[in-house]
Symmetry: C2
């Protein structure tokens, strides 16, 4: 969900601008770890613990259209490692209701460790989640995973469309 | 979680007593469907949509002790079909933190459809969840499943202990 359906990168940069007045862009965080990608190394951790952060995430470009298309051929589940942040649970549920109302509650999973998930594919921006997944793992491109080469990479949602539907 | 770690039956009867002044006991609801087990057929649905209901559920007898023992030999996950009731998400997370603090957030899953769960065993009080599970399903005894005979039945948590640890 984060970094795949939702554009966390943009949200971090916007929060940082609000807080510091400094406008960073993608190049400034390219290749850095997600947790300490900002000049203030504690900022990301503070933002993700801030009420409202997860409720106001921007949607990734083309995510809505492509998920809707995928649903015609696949049983699509949204799986989020949300359990670490209890306040995010309702925010994420409400966010999905707003932006992906065509995904039923039956197909939403909030968990901790994704190794418990039994699907044929997993699209994730974190290699650690793909490593414990037994079926086909696909890496969704993100600023923090540019140096990873273990998994097939999907650059954006149009790439997801091509992979599964063309 | 509901009906396995938590004693929903007792909670329904207590809520009904609070509301109606009528004290029913187990025999009055034995063999009935969970959703309309009370004389007021809308009561259970109303209770489970009431804020606080899931946060105040009583813990099932012996559940804490047995889960703690199971953890010594097994990787125990709590899987709850909580997604239908968004307000229950945080309540269930807080309830687990209070009563099962030894279960880490990494091993908690809130989902809709449990068919996505990849474990070796599933202990559940609802046959519908066991039916879509591909590994060993075990039916946890409940007033609403007394007529079911498709799955091996565990009568109570001491039975779980016997099954997995003796």
């Amino acid at each position: 969900m984060d970094g795949v359906l939702a554009n966390n990168k943009l949200h971090y940069l916007n929060y940082y601008f609000e807080e510091s007045g400094v406008r960073l862009d993608e190049e400034n965080i390219f290749g850095l770890n997600e947790n300490d990608c900002l000049p203030d190394k504690t900022a990301v951790s503070r933002y993700i613990h801030t009420p409202g952060f997860f409720r106001t995430l921007p949607v990734s470009t083309d995510a809505q259209d492509v998920v809707r298309e995928l649903q015609k051929k696949y049983d699509v589940f949204v799986v989020s490692a949300a359990m670490e942040f209890p306040h995010s649970l309702l925010e994420k549920r409400d966010w999905l209701d707003e932006h992906f109302p065509f995904i039923t509650w039956k197909n939403i999973v909030f968990c901790g460790d994704k190794s418990i998930i039994n699907t044929n594919f997993l699209i994730d921006d974190h290699v650690k989640n793909l490593m414990t997944f037994s079926e086909k793992g696909l890496l969704f491109d993100a600023f923090h995973n540019v140096h990873e080469s273990q998994f097939e990479r999907l650059k954006h949602w149009k790439d997801v469309y091509r992979y599964f539907l063309e």
